[in-house]
């Protein structure tokens, strides 16, 4: 019997690769990007194993993923401008287009009908039909100075809106697709120098862009976009020597615990704690390096932080109550990303230079399992399908 099960275990993925699709739910599936190989793994986070490897995704360095509302399809945004729709149940590419020369991320609309991609080259946002990947809208990012800007920090917002930032022009824009393919665009200028990434709060109300060119963040209240952008944590590093930043922090993983938010400082080896009632700095937590991702366990009790090179072999766990680092883990070489199970009992970490993904128990902080992967980077679970901004 055990032998038979073993045989099925081996044959399962092979049979699927030969064209058979799985018949199962997708709520506990996800993907792991293999950034050098141009591929991804479809993974089962309950069984902690790989189901499929899907290749032919192009240059997926810095790739990110959003999901269709039914959690069956992953939309993969590649560096090379590629937008690929992957069927998780069949482990196959449904459709792939190359929509720009150089891209950085994407988003799916509230109703799941539109997929938007933010592009560096040519700078702007392109919007596609999620069913067919046919073109819907092209939104060039031409700043006040008449020059094209790289676009970063693209998220979806309630009301079939997409919100994004112009890195070179220092603007935030809101594209409203309520009336279909001809969006209304609202422009907020002078938000600060070099917004490098952004996030939206889980309730979809506040859009916050981190600034690389100055110490501070730009906040837009999407209930009142007419009020423009407000500067928060202005000059948080004033008077301190700015340390080199060997990798841009990411803001996508919005870390909220109770009424406090946790954000990576830029050029300082600190996590900033913000009081969300006043948007003022509440505390700073010294950490092991330049933070890249600062993510809250879904129950908000722990904050996990990974770091830029040369400290990218460490991950620190912060207790959200005492604001102290409670553990420094060394999960592997070059930890690029962390993804929690939706109820927070486990977290998956990609160790790029060890060619594996490590699964940790978030209470015992012990390793539960490891999976082999080729230079793994981003890990994205299907629960993202139902979160605003992810």
């Amino acid at each position: 019997m055990i032998r038979l099960l073993g045989l099925l275990f081996v044959l399962g993925p092979l049979a699927a690769q030969a064209g058979a699709c799985l018949v199962r739910g997708t709520g506990d599936l996800g993907v792991v990007i293999e950034r050098s190989a141009g591929s991804l793994l479809v993974v089962d986070r309950t069984a902690r194993r790989q189901l499929f490897r899907v290749s032919g995704l192009g240059d997926v360095s810095h790739a990110s993923v959003v999901y269709s509302p039914d959690e069956r399809y992953a939309f993969v945004f590649g560096r090379d401008g590629g937008l690929t729709k992957v069927d998780l149940l069949c482990g196959a590419v449904v459709k792939r287009i190359v929509q720009a020369g150089n891209s950085v991320g994407g988003a799916i609309s509230q109703d799941g009908r539109l997929v938007a991609v933010s592009n560096y080259e040519p700078g702007g946002v392109r919007v596609f039909d999620a069913a067919t990947l046919g073109p819907v809208a092209d939104l060039p990012a031409i700043g006040a100075d008449g020059r094209r800007s790289k676009v970063v920090g693209l998220v979806d917002a309630p009301g079939d809106r997409f919100v994004y930032s112009l890195f070179d022009a220092g603007e935030i824009r809101i594209a409203d697709f309520t009336e279909g393919g001809k969006p209304k665009i609202q422009i907020i200028r002078n938000v600060g120098r070099q917004p490098y990434d952004a996030l939206i709060t889980p309730d979809g109300r506040y859009y916050i862009a981190g600034l690389f060119g100055e110490d501070g963040l730009a906040l837009v209240d999407l209930w009142h976009p007419e009020r423009g952008a407000r500067r928060i944590l202005d000059g948080y590093g004033r008077g301190e020597k700015k340390l080199p930043v060997y990798k841009m922090p990411h803001l996508e993983g919005w870390a909220v615990a109770g009424d406090q938010a946790f954000l990576p400082a830029v050029g300082h080896h600190e996590v900033l704690v913000v009081d969300m009632n006043t948007w003022r700095e509440k505390a700073r937590i010294a950490v092991a390096g330049q933070p890249v991702f600062v993510e809250a366990r879904p129950d908000g009790r722990q904050i996990w932080v990974n770091f830029a090179i040369p400290d990218n072999g460490k991950v620190q766990v912060i207790d959200a109550e005492t604001l102290r680092v409670i553990k420094t883990l060394e999960p592997g070489r070059a930890i690029l990303h962390m993804e929690f199970a939706p109820r927070g009992e486990a977290v998956w970490l990609s160790a790029r230079d060890d060619n594996r993904v490590a699964v940790y128990d978030t209470e015992s902080l012990k390793v539960l399992a490891t999976l082999e992967a080729i230079k793994p980077s981003g890990i994205f679970f299907t629960w993202r399908a139902h979160r605003i901004g992810l």
Partner: protein
């Protein structure tokens, strides 16, 4: 900052011989990984650019070796390019400039 014996030895050689030693094969593999993966984080795995500019040979054709070396070691103030001197010796940076001139090998 971590102590790096390679840095000390290379620094010693610089002083003694005036020329930087070529990195050994193990270090060369590490440096190629750094170039592809960590430089690639901003400049693209294929070096065609991202948040940072393209590092392909044609894009760097009008830059001197000395300028490239200075950019790698000391960064470019006012931009997102940081100084890599804490992680690289001069000899290693020089070897990386050679790799940039050759272009990606795959």
């Amino acid at each position: 900052m971590r102590w790096d014996w390679r840095g000390l030895i290379a620094g010693g050689l610089l002083v003694a011989g005036g020329a930087a030693a070529e990195p050994d094969p193990v270090r060369q593999a590490e440096l190629l990984n750094l170039l592809e993966q960590d430089c690639g984080a901003c400049h693209g795995l294929t070096r065609k650019g991202g948040l940072g500019p393209s590092l392909l040979p044609e894009a760097l054709a009008d830059k001197t070796d000395a300028a490239l070396l200075a950019t790698i070691l000391d960064g470019r103030p006012g931009t997102a390019m940081g100084p890599w001197r804490p992680m690289l010796t001069e000899g290693e940076a020089r070897w990386l400039v050679e790799q940039l001139r050759k272009g990606p090998q795959r």
